[in-house]
Symmetry: C2
Subunit: 414 residues, 2 copies
Amino acid sequence: MLAEIITIGDEILIGQIVDTNSAFLGKEFNKIGISIYQITSIQDNKTHILKALEEAENNADIIIITGGLGPTKDDVTKHTICEYFNDTLVENKSVLDNVEDIFSKYNIPLLDVNKQQALVPSKAKVLMNHYGTAPGMWLEKNGKVFVSLPGVPYEMKALISNEVIPALRKQFKFPYIKHKTILTYGLGESLLAKRIEAWEDNLPAFIKLAYLPSLGRVRLRLSAKAMEKKLIDTEIQKQVDLLLPLIDDVFVGFEEDKSLEAIIGTQLTEISKTLSIAESCTGGSIAKALTANAGASKYFKGSVVSYATESKMNILGVKEQDIESHSVVSKEIAEAMAKNVRTLFNTDFGISTTGNAGPSKGDADADVGTVWIAIATQDSVYSEVFNFGNHREKVITKATNKAFEMLQKEIKKK
Amino acid sequence: MLAEIITIGDEILIGQIVDTNSAFLGKEFNKIGISIYQITSIQDNKTHILKALEEAENNADIIIITGGLGPTKDDVTKHTICEYFNDTLVENKSVLDNVEDIFSKYNIPLLDVNKQQALVPSKAKVLMNHYGTAPGMWLEKNGKVFVSLPGVPYEMKALISNEVIPALRKQFKFPYIKHKTILTYGLGESLLAKRIEAWEDNLPAFIKLAYLPSLGRVRLRLSAKAMEKKLIDTEIQKQVDLLLPLIDDVFVGFEEDKSLEAIIGTQLTEISKTLSIAESCTGGSIAKALTANAGASKYFKGSVVSYATESKMNILGVKEQDIESHSVVSKEIAEAMAKNVRTLFNTDFGISTTGNAGPSKGDADADVGTVWIAIATQDSVYSEVFNFGNHREKVITKATNKAFEMLQKEIKKK
């Protein structure tokens, strides 16, 4: 089954925003066996929207349209969709109630233009948006499903998860689909490909392999799709068992669907352990990633972002003479930070980072990209040093990911 | 002048990566007066690529193709481009030298498959890639320019900035283009639109206005394009002068290419003032946003993410009886946190957040979405309370943005 995504609006084409919606849709649809045939981003221009709808109808079974539903006058999407379906706009009482509720809750005057959000094509099934005023709209034509959704990411995501996917599952029979993603580290894409060439050539036709390289890692994704669950599960496991001995030295683990920090959160909750962090070069990035998950307060007690050297001393109690003799970016300081933050917050685990994210050298003499990461537990502390390259954002992200990887290893020991 | 972007590769369609390249291209092309007509993301499938190239040739003057140039066997882009131009692949000596240099520098064995990176269509002008092995390729057909680039973001970006844009400027005469973006906050898109309706209706035809709303802020973007620089500069200034009195109470500033936190960083550096943060519900998000900018250590001393209530007492010295009598999410606690973190880090400004990001009620009884934000200076402390709705990610982002807005107002007073 094929889907096409049409994103509407100037913002993406002028580069004002990055289109994160399509990646979300691609991921969610793939999980249930729908492949994205094409993503098309266009302006909210009537002729262009009509052309895109027509082409999408020819290419795909499901057409998801995001964006173009704002209240200001530059949005023409809803009228154009109406025209495409040879339909007229009618006021929907439930949507109007929702719009009025939102405005009265936030005490904002309701304008006529806001009330227009309640106008929907008469043939549309309304999908209620609990986070905003623009509803989702489900329409059908020649056996194809068209869904128009607001472009605001969290509104769109909630509608997809709570409304669209359940409705699609009801309407269509999807094949069983399984992805298994194998994470490898330290070998480039082409060397890896050469090493597993014979194995790859012998894969059964219904299993596809993709190479997904990014920042020092290559993910190998096996995908299988068929109506029979048992066949797929058995065959994927068989192929993984054949593959693993070939990549033993570069194999890191299997990637599940959740972020590593969400998995760690679940694990910490299960074993009733707590965590605190002392972040220097990662500047709050580890804490932010953890607290993005609901329920983080169960295991995360807090963090000290000790950006200035003196705060490592004043708040974390790192000794001045240790900083002088070892420098701020060192094994000794990383380990002292992890130990002391664990004591300060009275937690089971303490993590710390100290390094230089660049672009220029900081308080320490360490090369740009050098990062020490330490983990302290009740009875031990250990650390590792990395060089994550010369791109600031990349250094921060890699250090954050690595800290979670190290923490997970430590949790697994418990 | 119109451009179309074709991104090739499975990764975007299955949601494995977010397409950040297109936003970069949109931004850079807009600056020189090229509008993006459409962005099309497709798999590396021959038929589909040929179809996309043909349609793009009909729609646009410049076609940028990114991705699909990796060494593994699932990439068919180069052969398909060759077929589209009725051309054959030939080995390019300079590219081969570059590939060999890169492999010997990192001491990786060079495989035949890597050498194939040096094969390019004979009609292509090669654009040398200094960060990777896949070269850029410039081709022309019926007066249209086609540029094929690697999909790795920093390789693509370097080729666009150093090769493609200079070459386009040489080949075409571009109109003068100017964008002016006005940042407002506190008034929704539709109320703002209503308030400036008369002004908007009187804009000259060559000036376009776009509303770019995001989480509590609305950016108003004026764009003008013409051959005459002086006319545009004068007219944009005139319109801005007419607009500002209408939005005096919600006007924040002009947005250059920078984020508000980057602007704040520059301002703090200029006035030599420093900042520390006590984050509860924002969980490190404010610190992370600040430290994403190089040079943050000049003005940012550090943050305490006091997620657990006891850490507000132990580390920030908030009094237990105050928490008991006012609750954790209150004016009193927010202000105590801001004052105390300022003292703890010995900074000019202290910011704090305490609230409930949801989805369920936490330590306090405050409604989901309630956030107190306080700012302390040497001689004052003040706070405001907000309700940012019922979506965790949105509450955190809105609270982070609002904290920066409050801080900027405070900085402006200095």
